[in-house]
Structure formats: C-alpha cells, structure tokens
Subunit: 499 residues, 2 copies
C-alpha cells in the first residue's frame, strides 16, 4: 500500500516538474511530557505514514522520481536493546518497510548531497511547507539544511499541495482499511449502546468503546478524543476534552450523543450515535432524531462525483429546518421557502458545524482547501465547512448532520430581527438545555454514487432493539437508503472476553 | 491539598530568601498532533498541577510570599462555548481552584508589573529553570519577559530545587491519593491475572487493565505506556512502546511481565506483576520468581528514615545473586562473599536497572538528585539509580527488583574475565531467551519503617489462586512481611459492568 502511495506521488511530481527531483520528508520525533521522562505512545506524523508506513519515531525518508525510498533510521545506542528491545539491522529495516536503501537519520544531509551529485545539477530537493486548513497550523518538520548546496536547490512550494491532493483520493487498499476501521467502530458503538444504562457515568461509555476496539481488534488508539455527552452536554460539539472530561452521571431522562472512532494502522474512523439513555425514544426526542436521520438520507441520495459539498450541506440544513417547521419551532409564511431560510443561514443556528469532512489518516483529513478548488465561503455556518469541493470518486467523507439547542446561538438569533421572525420562542423553550442530536457515518464516493462503511443501528427500531439486548447486525436491511453495504454481510458482533 | 502545597512552597521560599518574592509558573499549553487538528487529551504539567490542581491548558499562576495565588486563564473566544463548553467567569475560576485572584494569561506581564510596583523594589520574580534528572530534559515553560524591569528582577536559580524538594515529601492528602491509585492499579492487575489465558495477545492484557481502571474508578490515563511482555519480551525493560506494541501471542509456556499503573487526579502508580501465563509455576520459573520476591521482602525490612537507597539496591542484588548461586548459575568459592560480587557489579548483569524511584505526580518523580544530597554514583548499574538519597519520612518510592536474562549483557559478562569466573555458562544456557521477572510495589516511608500501598497477589499461592479464579483480596494475610496494609481491609475487587 505504501509503495503504491510512493509511486503515485512520484508520478504526480514527475508530471508537474521539468527538473529531476528528490522528495525529503522527516517523520515525527520521539517526545516526552514536558520535562519529565513520560513518553506518550508515539503515533507517526500522517504524511510520513502515508508514504512509508513506518511506526518508529525519529526517521526520515528520501524519495527519488521513480518512487525508490531511502529510509533514514535512528542510530540507537547499545543499551536501547536492554530497555526498548532488539536493534534492527539495516537489512531488517529494508525488509520491514520495503525500503530500497537504509541509512541513519543523522546522515540525512550527506546522503542527500551524494544523491544530488550523482544526479544532474538541476535536481530540486522538494520539502514540505504549508498550512493545514483544519487546524491553521503550519507544517514544521521540514529539515533545515546546513549545506549551501542543499539550501540552493531546495523547493518548498511544489510538494505540499501535490502530496495533500494524493491523499484526497483513496486507493483500493486504503478504502479497505477505512471500511474495516469503520466496522470496528460501528460494533464498538453498538456494544456501548447495548450496555449503557442510566446511572452510569459518561466516561464509562468511553471506556467500553475503547476496550471493545482494542481488546477485540487491536485498535490501540482512538482517532480523536471521545465525545460522550449526555443531557445538555450533547450540545457541546467537542465535549470530552480535559476541561469537560465526560464526567456527568447519565440520567434516566437524558439523551446521549457519543462521537467516537477507533484508529487502525493509523487510519481513522469518526462515527456518532445519538440515542435515549433509557432505550426508549420519547415524543420530544423523536422528531429531532428523525430530522437528523432524514438529513443523512437526503444527502446520501445526492452524493456522487460532480456534486458540490456545499449543496449537500445546504440540503441537510433544509431537511432539518423543514422538520423544525413541522414541530412549530421554525415558522414561516407561504411567501418564504426553506431554501430562503437556508440562504438566510438560519440552519446554522441549529447545526453550527459543517456537514462533514474528508477522513483518512487524519480524522479531519487533508485537502479540503487546495489551490484550484473552491475556496472557503465566508458566510455564517458555511465558513465552518472543512471543504467546499466538488465530489470525486474515491473521496471518503463523513456525513454528520446535527440539530442542537445552544443557548447563546438561539439568543443571538432571537435578538436578530432578520432571523427571529422565523422562530417560535415558545415552542423553542422546552428544548432549551435539551442537548442535541448528531448522526455521523463514513462514506466513500463511488463512480456513480456512494457507499456507507458504517454499520451502526440508525433507525428508531434498530436503536431500541439493540438497547433492549437484541441481535446486531440484523439479518435483513430495513433501510437500504442508508447504504450500509456491510450491514447484513458483517460478522456478528463480539463482546470482549468472547461474550 | 493544592492550597496546602502552595503554603508549603511559600514557607520554604521565605525561609531561604531575604528579599520578598513572587513565584511565576506557566502551565502546559494546548497542543495538536503535528500540523493536524488532533488534540490529545491534555494532561497538566506536573509542577503546575502540584501548585494549582488546574486541569485546563494555557494557564499560568503567580504566587506571593504568603501563598496567595493569582490564576491566569485563557481568554476564550465566544464560539468556544459552542465547540468546547461553558466559558467560566472569573468568579467560577476562583471558586473552582481556590484562587485569590483571576486574570487572563495574556495579561501575565501587566499583572506581574503591577504587583512588583505595589511591593518594594527588591522583589524577586522566581522562575523555573533546571534539568530533570530522570529524562535529562530542561524545563522550558518559563515565560520570557519583554519588560526590562521584569527581566532585571527575575531569578532563575532559587525556585527549581526548592519546588522539587517540596514534592519529595508527600502530604497526608497526597499519601491518601497515592494509596488510592495503587489500590486501583492492584485490583486492575488482579483482574488481568484472573482473565488472562494463553492464546490471548499481550495487548489484550493492556486493554483489560485500562478498562478496569477507567470504567470502575474513572482513571482516564495510565501513568506510563503499559509494558505487557511475555516470553522473551519480559526481558525488555520498557517493552510496549510504538516500536514494540505489546503484539505477541501469549504462549502456553510463556511467563508474563506486566508493568502498568493507573493515574488518578494526576497522581501516578507503577506496579509490576510477573506470573506464568498458564497459571502454574514451573520448576524452572519458581526459583527466579521467589528470588525476586525475597529481594522485595529483604528491602522492606530495611526501609526506614536514614537508610541509604543505594544500600537497599545492593541488598536486593545480593538476595538475587544468592538465589542464582543456589541454582548454580552463579558460582563462587568460599573466599569470595556475595557482597564482593555485588561490589564487582555482577548483580547489574541480571538487574540492569535501579531498585526503584520516587513516585508522585510523575511516575519517575522529581528530586532524585538535588543539591545537598548524594550525587549519582558512576558505576555500572548504580549509575541507573534514579536517586542515591538517604530515606526520609513521607517519601514514596517503588521497590522493583528484577532478574532478567538479556543476551547482550550475559555475553558481555561471559567475555569479561573479572565476571565470567563467577558464572556457570552451562546452567545459564536454558535461561537464554527465557525473559525475566520483575515485582514492583509502591511504598511510603513512615516514621520508623514503611507501608506498602500495593495489594497485588504476590506469593506463589496467591498468584495461582487468583489465576484459578479465586477470591481477591484474601480474608487473611499469609505474608505480613510484604506489609500490604490494605490487603485484608480493601473492598472486594469489582469487575467491569459489576461482574
């Protein structure tokens, strides 16, 4: 898989550049927690992983225009063998990672110089430099050369957008991995649902999820910090961090919003389930839940190459606004259409985040805003979209519509005459502090549509069934509109310890 | 607890300095994984935690000479409330962390200048600067002032050793926390023991441990990356990292060495259990295991204020060498004593690490080598000791003797005429690749001895009993020499999901 990725990058570079080129990437360094000697489990930097599959820290690589890789590895002291384990020989490194050549990381400059000399003089050394459009962070692992010759020949503009674009379209093997990790995560969610009871703490759900995915499927890390909100916490989009550590007692009347994803071989999943803690949908919760589920289905009917992600986002908003109108929360006269309300950005009050995002080695995967594609739209709500691109085959995205009741957003809308006339304050009142619903699946764009890798219980009947201890996955697919391709062919769900 | 810590530090500073002083500490910043927006669960920097108990990132504090704390907190944008949760008011910050005053972190310099002005001119501003003796890392969170006045009055030498020394002696509340987290970890180890079967993967033990501690006791983090080695991996001291990720299948004849500790409220535990995977001690394993257990007991009989940690280490080595002599692996004539062999550093071949270390907020807690105490001893093996101090009341340490068969160390000793004459190569042979045994408890030094906070199965009978599904903890303490004060008074072990 990684060799295929290297070839893909080398080809892309070759088709862009006239000169010959060497690509240099530095992997993640080993780190400690502040000045202590506590070493968190190392997780490779994502670009480096995509090219190499190297799980070890302190490495680097040089890729030539034919995709041949020289792997640079740490020169470990002898007592490493006592403390950390067997020191691999160069042959073992070669074998393990399919490298064409192996040297020590500390020799990066020398190795590079000798390669530049053996090539002709116009060889460019391509280094990574750019900004991640999700975090706003600048990539900062590129080496700084001491040698003037190398500095003269370095090129920091070509590589970043090309490598990012390579990661946008997934290969067959990448698709298979993303499918697998979505399935692991779906079963882990189902396991949580089946075992959750009011009276438990939110973090117990996180613990069940992580244990299920690690114990049964070797998923040591999660793709992101688990969000296990119940009650009002379900309206905090990224709840669960150290400041709000999933530490509420789950009440009998609470609804849960659990957003968790396993990671496997550095490939991410990102799945959200929402459900009532007591296992029975109330009349108050039901219309909100179904609005969000319907938004998913609406989007799945649109997804195919050529479709704009912005249009999908607006379609989800429209579906939710329509449902809120049926509940009387949104009110409009016959002269105003739901499309008008969407353009007024009313939907962003209830769904203040983007419809979804690319997913791959990163949960919020790269390539959302690259040169040559639709730039970020500077309008409320739409500015939060992690991409505004037209869809293409083999893109993998999450679809995660949501509907939340967030006081400061509702207050803002009620104080804004342009929006307040379309809201019914009285009907809204009972939903204040009520939390929210989000449903999130992982889908791949196919030649003419999409497939859903997620196999979670989604319909009201499915959720109530699993929460009552019913079998999962089901024998028959009651809702093919959800396009859960693995639903009936998936193996039965395991419990930890085989139960 | 944190207020008490602040008072303790303020008093120590006051008794050292003639001038008045303000202490400035910066807490850990929020971080992402490389340039992505993946945010690992934030864990506060340990010095900052000891003084403040603040779980949030991007804070700072100013402490005056009476221990009054001004807490500086991030100035969060409004949409934080949508994404991350309720934005606390200054009153709420004060209340939550017992701060005397609250301001924004971005105002640190201004707040400090106004305090310096209101004090007299000789006020020193104490900043942290120093090297962690376990990691060799330099503390690097101290602020760099732009204001010349502040730069003139800063003092970077006084604070570090005093604050580190304050953390060496634990308060009553700290002792209670360390006792609690040792108990959580002990039960989690016992749970793993009871559920472990040959045919499982090493990482499944890690998953069971973490789930038990988190699900039952809210311990979200472990104090360090879990070491779950079986077979030959048991001889790799810090196995389990990303390069060697606990991924071996546990064989019928394998012995396990599991070194894992839960963290609770940022207080660490660090406990190791060793046992045969199939639950029955073999004739080959038994003498090694009992040698290490006997080394623990030997040390526990020595531990009390005034005793040198180096002497304890040597006593453990001597006990192990004596047992190896009984097995015929070590051979010596009557004219050579075991103490002679210890001084020859033969013990370091079988136990190539220190006897243990301080433990507190960090697993390898600070204060091992501070000015005014015994410096590091530059001899093989002894140089690995994390402290060489004389013991004092309310120090908390791990005691973790071990005996391993590590090829490159054994080969080195066999090729060294000074050592090889005391080794029987033939008797050693069957133990090549056999792994090793380590037993590790957490103990506190009392006025006249020690108490052991760990409540793991330790004797052969106890281990075999729990692995056969027997009750734990026991009704009676068969081995009071292990000083497990909570053994019979501990609550019965829970299973996750109450089983």
């Amino acid at each position: 898989m990684f060799r295929e990725n290297r070839t893909k990058l080398a080809k892309s570079i070759k088709s862009t550049m006239d000169e010959s080129a060497l690509i240099v990437l530095v992997g993640g360094p080993s780190t400690t927690r502040f000045d202590s000697d506590n070493e968190p489990v190392f997780r490779q930097e994502s670009y480096f992983w995509w090219l190499s599959g190297v799980k070890d820290a302190d490495c680097a690589l040089i890729l030539d225009e034919d995709g041949r890789m020289t792997l640079l590895v740490p020169n470990l002291p002898e007592d490493y063998a006592t403390i950390m384990g067997h020191i691999k020989s160069k042959e073992e490194w070669k074998e393990l990672y399919g490298a064409d050549d192996v040297d020590f990381t500390e020799n990066l400059e020398q190795v590079l110089e000798s390669k530049v000399v053996s090539n002709d003089k116009s060889t460019k050394i391509l280094l990574m430099e750019g900004v991640n459009s999700d975090s706003g962070n600048t990539y900062d692992l590129a080496p700084e050369f001491k040698s003037n010759k190398l500095v003269e020949q370095q090129d920091k503009t070509t590589l970043f957008p090309i490598l990012a674009e390579c990661r946008v379209h997934k290969s067959k093997l990448e698709l298979a991995l993303l499918e697998h990790v979505a399935q692991i995560s779906s079963f882990a969610h189902s396991y949580v649902m089946r075992n959750l009871k009011p009276g438990m703490m939110e973090y117990q759900a996180e613990s069940l999820f992580m244990h299920y995915a690690y114990f049964n499927f070797g998923s040591r890390l999660v793709s992101y910090t688990s969000i296990c909100g119940c009650g009002p916490n379900a309206a905090i989009l990224h709840y669960g961090h150290a400041g709000e550590p999933n530490a509420r007692l789950i009440g009998e009347e609470d609804n849960c919003l659990f957003d968790m994803g396993a990671e496997y071989q550095c490939y991410a999943s990102d799945i959200t389930c929402s459900f009532p803690a007591n296992g029975k949908f109330s009349a108050k919760y039901l219309p909100i839940y179904n609005a969000v589920l319907q938004a998913q289905i609406t989007v799945y009917e649109m997804l195919k190459p050529g479709v704009s992600w912005v249009d999908c986002h607006k379609a989800a908003e429209k579906t939710i606004l329509t449902a809120l109108a049926e509940m009387g929360i949104v009110s409009k006269g016959p002269d105003v259409s739901f499309d008008d309300l969407v353009e007024l950005r009313l939907g962003g009050i209830f769904m203040p985040h983007g419809l979804g995002h690319f997913i791959g080695i990163d949960t919020h995967d790269v390539g959302g805003y690259l040169p040559g594609h639709q730039p970020r739209i500077q309008l409320p709500g739409l500015s939060k979209l992690r991409t505004a691109r037209l869809l293409e085959e083999n893109m993998v995205l999450t679809v995660e519509p949501g509907c939340y009741f967030i006081d400061h957003l509702l207050d803002g809308a009620l104080n804004n005459p342009a929006l307040s006339k379309y809201l019914n304050e009285q009907k809204l009142k009972p939903y204040r502090g009520y939390g929210g619903v989000r449903l999130e699946d992982v889908l791949a764009i196919t030649k003419d549509g999409c497939v859903n890798f997620t196999v979670c219980p989604r319909t009201v009947e499915e959720v109530e069934g699993v929460m009552a201890g019913g079998k999962w996955p089901p024998m028959k697919d009651s809702t093919p509109e959800l396009r859960r391709i693995n639903l009936v062919r998936a193996s039965p769900m395991l419990g930890p310890l085989g139960t």
